[in-house]
């Protein structure tokens, strides 16, 4: 099982096979290499009751939340980076629209360490963090822990095991080995924290020649690879395309009221040239 190759399949097949209603799933990407098109496929297939996890939920999470796919959000910073607020996320929390959204809120350091613990097969991670803030009062997954060697009181956060991790990478080879570079965020940790994983890639190549700071995910830790050129748009894919900054600003207008968002959603569901 562990040395089995990842399978290269169409995106719709991968999402249908790997992601089920009620799953805990992270579509990770720290404002770079965000698996946006995969998120749109999740909306099209009408997944529900998902627990969505991500350090930096942005536009595609706003879309998933507005479309009613999520029951809960585990996160550390929810905004439209460089633009402002996420209006669907705010509407869900402030007005319970389209349905109530439970939240579990961390700092980046805390949530990153929750993936690290899961990737390492440990029950929790230890860190210096959260002391004196109001976060522990509202987030059950933050607790004090005493160092058995020095007696110092530190903070523990539990491993966050995912059912599915979805990430975007620049490329894979024909065997399904995956390579990503540039700012690689928490994607490796998310994939290693997950039971199943899907990587969308810009292209398949014969050979993965070395790149600076590249992260390679061997084929046997990835369940499925799907070829999705431009799959991170409107975010960046280092050496492939820049961020579509205008779209981030447009999203602010589209998402601001329920009606314009509804029209966007209808268009996406009908599969008409999925906007962004």
């Amino acid at each position: 099982m562990r040395t089995q190759s990842s399978r290269i399949v169409p995106l719709s097949t991968a999402v249908a096979e790997l992601l089920h209603d009620g799953d805990t799933v992270a579509l990770e990407g720290f404002t770079h290499l965000i698996p946006v098109t995969a998120g749109h496929e999740v909306i099209r297939q009408g997944r529900r009751d998902l627990t969505l996890v991500r350090l930096t939920p942005d536009i595609v999470y706003d879309q998933l939340i507005g479309a009613g796919c999520a029951r809960k959000l585990v996160f550390s910073w929810g905004g439209n980076p460089g633009v402002g607020s996420l209006h669907r996320f705010r509407d869900a929390i402030q007005n319970r629209w389209p349905e109530p959204l439970e939240i579990e809120e961390h700092s980046h350091a805390g949530l990153a360490n929750r993936y690290v613990a899961a990737a390492a097969g440990l029950p929790f991670a230890v860190m210096r963090g959260y002391r004196g803030t109001d976060l522990p009062e509202h987030t059950a997954t933050i607790a004090p822990v005493t160092c058995p060697f020095t007696g110092e009181v530190l903070t523990a956060v539990p491993a966050l095991e995912l059912d599915v991790a979805i990430v975007h990478a620049q490329r894979a080879d024909r065997e399904g080995n995956v390579q990503m570079w540039g700012l690689t965020g928490v994607q490796k940790e998310a994939v290693l924290a997950a039971k199943r994983s899907l990587v969308t890639v810009e292209e398949i190549v014969d050979e993965l020649d070395p790149r600076p700071n590249a992260v390679v995910l061997p084929k046997w830790v990835v369940s499925c690879v799907s070829v999705v050129p431009h799959g991170a748009h409107p975010s960046y894919a280092h050496d492939y395309y820049e961020r579509d900054n205008a779209y981030y600003r447009e999203w602010d207008a589209i998402s601001r009221d329920r009606e314009t968002f509804g029209a966007w959603l209808d268009e996406l569901r009908q599969g008409v040239s999925a906007p962004a």
Partner: protein, 255 residues
């Protein structure tokens, strides 16, 4: 050369840039902190080490990054690391001298709220983006510089939610909480500069920008603002500072 034609936001950004000494490592957030830190690198601090939470250490972007994921940060960095590494290996042990933060609300003891507006966390009046890297930046950097526009909405007696700790409830609280960094040393606003009183830790107005007086700052503060006896006046932005700042801002507007 002094240039008379500038906005209060420009004055604020220039004052924030001046607060950053050359040669130190600075943990920078996107927005006003990033603009000010990049301005400092262009004017008086060419050796300022910019650290972005997405994993860029020593980034030297030729324009302002559009977000923390901007490839220009990776391309110009001395080192590129992962997000867990930036927090666990670089921030947590106290390797970073200055943390540079924004705020939605700040209180008398420089505690910061970026989480919710309103008394009820479960039913907020306004849901803000949340913590991001700020709680650990505020806890672990050698010192913290805050940049925020001053008004009675942002400068409140008590923050609705403590996202990042300044001086807690007053002297001794940081030590009691085991926070190893020194805490906020300067709060830079569009009206002036506030610094914690060495005895009480209470934010005290120590500097006003040109054309601003202490009463204006008092009126824009939600508590009875302490004013230093030797209140200073900031130097107006120079033409060099304004040119560099406007060029940086054009680079983002053009994107």
């Amino acid at each position: 050369m002094i240039c008379d034609d500038w906005t209060t936001d420009e004055m604020m950004t220039v004052a924030a840039a001046r607060a950053l000494p050359d040669g130190v490592a600075c943990f920078v957030g996107i927005g006003l902190p990033s603009t000010a830190a990049n301005l400092a690198r262009r004017i008086h601090a060419p050796e300022l080490v910019l650290i972005y939470e997405a994993g860029a250490i020593g980034a030297k972007p030729g324009r302002l990054p559009m977000s923390i994921g901007d490839g220009i940060l990776a391309e110009t960095a001395d080192a590129v690391v992962t997000v867990p590494e930036i927090f666990n290996y670089w921030l947590q042990p106290g390797r970073i001298e200055i943390g540079f933060l924004g705020a939605a609300q700040i209180d008398r003891y420089a505690n910061i709220n970026t989480t919710v507006i309103g008394p009820d966390y479960a039913n907020p009046k306004v849901r803000l983006p949340g913590a991001g890297g700020a709680p650990e930046i505020a806890a672990s950097c050698g010192e913290v510089v805050v940049i925020v526009r001053q008004s009675t909405r942002s400068f409140v007696e008590r923050v609705d939610f403590v996202t990042s700790v300044g001086y807690g409830g007053g002297p001794g609280d940081r030590e009691r909480l085991g926070l190893r960094g020194g805490g906020p040393t300067r709060v830079i606003t569009d009206l002036g500069v506030l610094e914690p009183d060495p005895e009480t830790c209470e934010l005290t107005l120590t500097e006003v920008h040109p054309g601003v007086d202490a009463d204006q700052a008092r009126e824009a503060t939600g508590w009875e603002l302490a004013v230093a006896d030797d209140l200073r006046a900031s130097a107006a932005p120079t033409a060099e500072e304004l040119d560099a700042l406007r060029e940086l801002e054009r680079s983002v507007a053009a994107a």
